[in-house]
């Protein structure tokens, strides 16, 4: 198992220990083979996330009335299949305008639902940890060295059509926790990061509960403003 050396000792402000611990775990998780991608492919997805920020095609699409109106090739390492590269770049740079038709196109190009959900987990892990670094003004962490091994390709039992674009475990509520249940390790990683960055699920029910120096209204204002800027309805 790798042991990422993430810390925030050089940060301009003190960072409580739960954040670097969650980030180390996230980076170690990133380096390991998943259910559908190898460790090397998962790190390649992470590399593509960082390339997306400077991708001219993504920039042009972001400015267009419809992202479908602009065609071209993404700038980046390009070691992944084209459908995976497209998925990484769009989720990273223009998440508010993704559509079922877009995902159907990726699947027609050979990206399975398992590959896609795991890719979403990797992309969102890197985006959030990189965003935290940028918010604090510290350098981005070096990506981890991939670990050897093959993906398990194990599909969980009990998946249903829950009204999303991907199959999920059965349940009536908590869709955002069920969204990646096709790859349970990504749900686990999401919960660890969310506890460190925001609140534990059981704490969310207590509306008096803040986070550190922020009261709950301040927490939710930051959360809602980011969500609105990304045009996220959820």
């Amino acid at each position: 198992m790798s042991d990422s050396a993430i810390d925030y000792v050089s940060a301009p402000v003190p960072v409580c220990a739960d954040l670097p611990a969650a980030h180390r775990r996230g980076w170690d998780h990133l380096a390991r083979p998943g259910r559908w991608w190898t460790g090397a492919e998962r790190v390649a997805i992470a590399t593509e996330v960082r390339a997306a920020a400077a991708c001219p095609l993504c920039h042009e699409r972001k400015q267009a009335l419809s992202p479908n109106a602009v065609t071209g090739t993404h700038a980046g390492p390009g070691v992944l299949p084209p459908a995976a590269v497209e998925a990484v770049h769009r989720i990273t740079t223009d998440p508010g305008r993704l559509s079922r038709g877009w995902l159907d196109g990726l699947e027609a190009d050979g990206l399975s639902d398992g590959h896609y959900v795991e890719l979403v987990g990797v992309v969102t892990t890197v985006v959030s940890i990189d965003s935290f670094c940028r918010g604090l003004g510290v350098p981005l962490h070096a990506l981890p060295e991939p670990e050897p091994g093959e993906p398990s390709r194990a599909r969980p039992d009990g998946l249903v059509d829950g009204g999303a674009w991907v199959p999920m475990t059965a349940g009536r509520f908590g869709n955002v926790l069920r969204a990646m249940s096709l790859v349970p390790e990504e749900v686990s990683n999401l919960m660890v990061l969310s506890r460190a960055h925001y609140l534990a699920p059981e704490e969310m029910a207590d509306i008096e509960r803040g986070r550190g120096a922020l009261d709950r209204a301040q927490v939710e204002l930051v959360a809602a403003r980011v969500s609105a800027l990304r045009e996220c309805f959820y």
């Binding site: 402000v13 409580c16 954040l19 390991r32 920020a53 989720i91 990273t92 998440p95 508010g96 993704l98 995902l103 979403v120 992309v123 969102t124 985006v127 959030s128 965003s131 935290f132 918010g135 604090l136 398990s152 999303a164 674009w165 999920m168 009536r172 509520f173 869709n175 969204a179 990646m180 349970p184 390790e185 749900v187 686990s188 990683n189 999401l190 990061l193 969310s194 960055h197 925001y198 699920p201 029910a205 207590d206 509306i207 986070r211 550190g212 120096a213 922020l214 209204a217 301040q218 204002l221 930051v222 959360a223 403003r225 980011v226 969500s227 609105a228 990304r230 996220c232 309805f233 959820y234």
Partner: protein, 154 residues
Amino acid sequence: MSGETSGRDYGLAAIVDGKAAHASGIDHAEELVTLAEAMVGSDDAALASARQGLRDAMGAEALVDAAAVASNFERMVRIADATGIPLDPPVNAMTADIQEELGLTAFAAKSQTPDAGRLARAAGPLLRRISPRLMRALAPRLQRLIGAPPEPRV
């Protein structure tokens, strides 16, 4: 438009218009919104200024907490939008009127969530008033339902 938690009213317009932060009734809303906007944007100078402004107003710990929350939602919005999950029905019912007034229904991702319906829209404000007590009552059950996250496969 206002929302109520903990017996206080808050202006919600700052969610979609950062310039309305001063009228939100939330302490240091302007500094918090400025940091959130700068983190989503790509202007490094604006982000440095926002960081310093928040730190000066609220202190170093608040800067770390605000950066942690903003970056958390950079993750959550992408999970929601990339998987096409609908908004959970109780939340949809409780917030239908707010969605419309803030213009959130214009977002492309709204198409994933069925309309709450007239009855739910009418009941939304009442549901919001009782939801804090309801949430507190349900919290232990929620904790049992969620439990500990599954351990990753090694």
